[in-house]
Symmetry: D2
Subunit: 356 residues, 4 copies
């Protein structure tokens, strides 16, 4: 235990006062591999972190509360073995490359660099092998490293598509989403827009959902990642839920789609995080429910052994022909779709010796 | 005026104290063709209608308030030229055939007889010609007649698919719905089920959405209606909206799907109700919006010249190939999807001389 | 008609693209006394108004849509007989006095000048006589004039308290409010704050609710308005409703509180706007309901002859002793509590010849 | 361990498939004093409990899932040292006295017997001494015993009023509530009634809130409980929250109301459950928050060491004079207001040797 404590890596959380930032701080409390040593912010620089965040439902450790908020800048971070970056798009675009130049290992939830040639876009159960791109980054002279976590809707989608694609071969996926307001951050969606309403549009979201899973399910080749050879169509909607993105999809497959076999396939699916028993790995990455009216955001978003890290799949049915099927999936957007997935990636990197 | 008053038909509304029943009563106030002479109920039999319904946002005429509620039974209705039947499924199953035997002309929102061979399933802009089945009913010895209005989700869907099918030829329609709680009647969906939640299931709904539009877009032949030759897949969801079903669909067509042409096609669409200038016919049955984030239930459900009777279509985009497209549609479920559509059918029947 | 058109006053709406601003524009369409000639905005300056506002549920006239948005500044307004100012607090603080100096007649929904000694704070049914302060403004050398509309919660409250105070004499009013999100403007309340939640706090609101009605129910004397001699305690809450503030109050009176007499008193109440049959005056400023579970925001906010201009009162009951009572009131916050009330004040001023 | 297992009491939960019933089953999993041996229901009699309840967010033990549902009747319960009765009103009225006649010890959440002369109405931190009435029950020849838990709104209210009354002496309490839909059970409040709405009425609720706390804060005398000598006025409202009743109150006291002293008084308050360290006793029964906009249902309903068992108080302010004050309180209605409070009472009875 003592030895382990000594080897804990020092981690920084950027934009730690934001909604996803707070999730990071909570999930990093008493983490066996990581020790939170830096939190950054903007208007709150210089204040104790505990004073800045309002006491919400998420427990924050004493240690985290005592940290002084540093500026979100290349010079603000100080010594850190790993930097979590849930930055807004524009800030991430310029700051993240700067951090890598300075030698930081950065894992980002932000979108700007996700599709970059040398940047692995990772969901740990889906494509751990893509971390081999870090070797290419070094070869290209990068001092630090950059790994990206996908869009919150794409993360859960890729997780569910992985075993189906591996077993049946995907040809087309047509997904319709019903997304929680927390996906837009805070203050995010005005209440006047969402009470008694649905908004059939989220800026830039459909493009991400249609491309990111293909990169994740693709294979690493010479020129970077060769995307998987199927097509995704996304129609996205914002609904009046707080957390948990629901995604209903129609899939077309190379081989026959047998609902009960697919149910088994999904329920059995395990990845490297499960094999390595990583601290944030849920026992079952995909929970399959047979109840008629499930999954539901309020009832299922914290299902499983690590709350928010399992996706729940239900209503697995045949499609219009034998080589197509339908299913509905729920994924916690700020945990499996952001902070949780990223920490799991960091745990995987730690265990593979990629953070030292 | 006097002449007109004399020719007004006497109409009865069954289950008039229910949610759709109240919509009927409101919409029949001062109707130029119809005079409400009978309202039926269950627990409220014998009381004045005005005492039974709570004063809601819908204005009810003095005359309607003074009507005494009659029992919902073959003997309760008395003299009526037309009977509107928004009955629950089971009650409709047995009572409606009885009413027809007694010689009543019945138009029903209930589901049991929608797919019956001799029963026209009608949205007046979509398939007015199906009313020719009434002649077959007479030939088969029916004393009265029975016409059905489709499921609330199917009604709007058929309306939008009609011009697309006519022009481009539909091969497949994959629709994902986000439906308002009023679709389940009153008391309907418990609030504990829907606050901060989405329910990916509505009993029997998907089957109706997948079959009823095909009957409506089919053609009347010797054996009844031959359904249209394309396939529909429906994934339905209940969301926390009061009124207005949102439907996002992916369509595959025989001919090329050109978004701007489809937009024009839909915006230009008119049916017999518009030609005949029926009282409840909206000037534009389909309103096309070009705004990014529309249609939205709260903002668009009462759009157009007859509130609740126009559907609003937006986000018309290409699909994954040139012969497919995507669009999102909003339809007011208790007006265009129930009472309003049925009254429009009755108006059409009146003008065609089909109501005695 | 021609004569009338000639006498219509030219009015400007500041911040016309905001939520209350849009209400003004809608309510001024085809107004018999006023002609909208100027709309101002910030980021939308130079564009046609119709392009700037998204097509919402409120109809905007062709003429209004064609107006070019001007800057919100002393020089931006041009010729106008009357200026409606639903400006944010800070902007109002400096701009409104400037406008008065330039000779404009300004009616404001903003808070900074409401309690100023020479500024009448008016709900037309409550204290039309306070408009006599305009004479004092002239005597003090003001080139234009300034009239204020109270806080959205205080407006409905003052309306209901007026006849009770006049008849029974108020000693104390303890009010607890449940306020709609539109009260905070747009974007206003983040949806993450209000879904499945209540917020027992609105910045500065309680102070306004506790003081403004006293000014309105006070009497004009030499030093300005002498506030009414009773006390108000307010506890305010934000709830997940779109429009309509619900206010439950406990009142202590000098004379006995007889619920049925108070019901009659409120139902009978009429003010100058009703006597003068002003265009925006509802037939009944206060509608009394006897149903157990009313008023309710969604069902009652548009009750009455001029939608949104009547408040609805229910649950009138005894208090803990004979000289106290309880009642619940609903008032549409952006109509009776803002744009509607202000336009009604303008109509009253027009008819009294106070607008030039 | 073995000894402990042997001494665990056998408990039955009536109506165990209902909403509060499920809370009981969850909270009784692995309970150190109690072993769930009987669950009863109505339509589900004969089925395994685990099959009947849908897998919700509340974990149910393997053992509970394997129990066969028994009928809710005198003969259905079998051997049990203690019976928890979250029955509907009418069922409770007749069945509970029957159970007592048969010798069962019953603790009920139902209302019919709460105000009975010999029945203690208990919140364990408030009036544990009222359990002395059990002796009177025995003297009166009762074979079993009956203890009642108050109405969900009254429970939290009594808890907060207790230390204020003890220290300052209450004269009047005027409370306005904003109550969650779970308070009405399942299916309970129709979603059509509560979306975008507030309902200012809950049947019989105000009467309970105005009388039950007085019994709890009263003293046991010869004729039963003499109620406390102050008055309560309640105005209740249903709002669109899932769990957690918010109550804003104006209190008038004999002594001066000093907000910071009252804050301290409340924060320091402890009762017998805390002294005895009962398993379900929260470390702080009353948590005091100093943040402006708290307590809030979604953020605070699970605050404290035993989720749902602490109430949270904020916005403690002066009233209109020195002997009055205002405060806002949040209480979890199905835990502190029902199952949790009742289990805590049972724990207290167990430790005092009152359960056989």
């Amino acid at each position: 235990l003592r030895a382990q404590a000594r080897t804990k890596l020092r981690v920084a959380v950027l934009a730690a006062t934001g909604m996803v930032g707070q999730r990071y701080v909570t999930m990093l409390s008493d983490h066996p591999y990581f020790r939170l040593t830096t939190v950054t912010g903007q208007s709150s620089v210089g204040k104790p972190y505990g004073q800045v965040i309002s006491s919400g439902p998420f427990p924050v450790s004493r240690e985290a509360k005592d940290l002084t908020v540093k500026p979100t800048s290349v010079d603000g971070i100080g010594e850190a073995d790993l930097v979590f970056s849930p930055l807004p798009t524009e800030a991430a675009m310029s700051l993240e490359p700067e951090l890598v130049k300075r030698g930081y290992n950065v894992i980002t939830d932000a979108s700007p660099h996700r599709m970059d040639r040398l940047v692995p876009l990772v969901v740990p159960e889906v494509n751990p092998s893509h971390l081999s791109l870090l070797q290419r980054q070094r070869e290209a002279g990068w001092k630090g490293s950059l790994v990206a976590t996908p869009n919150c809707t794409a993360a859960g989608l890729a997780l569910v598509l992985k075993p189906i694609h591996a077993e049946l071969g995907l040809k087309r996926v047509l997904v319709s989403t019903m997304q929680a307001v927390s996906g837009a951050g805070y203050p995010g969606v005005p209440s006047l827009d969402i009470l008694d309403n649905v908004i059939p549009f989220i800026k830039d979201e459909e493009d991400k959902v249609e491309t990111e899973p293909l990169k994740m399910l693709g294979s690493v080749g010479k020129g970077g990642v060769k995307p998987a050879g199927f097509d995704i169509s996304a129609m996205v909607h914002r609904v009046a839920t707080t957390d948990g993105h629901l995604e209903s999809m129609y899939v077309e497959t190379e081989d026959s789609f047998n609902p009960s076999k697919v149910a088994e396939l999904l329920a059995r699916f395990r990845g490297e995080p499960q094999e390595l028993r990583l601290p944030s790995a849920p026992a079952e990455p995909i929970i399959v429910t047979k109840e008629d009216a499930r999954p539901q955001p309020r009832l299922d978003r914290y299902a499983g052994t690590v709350p928010g890290m399992s996706v729940v799949v239900g209503r697995i049915r045949k499609g219009l022909d034998s080589k197509s099927g339908r299913l509905t999936m729920l994924s916690h957007n700020t945990i499996r779709g952001a902070a949780g997935s990223t920490i799991l990636t960091a745990e995987l990197m730690y265990r593979k010796g990629l953070l030292g």
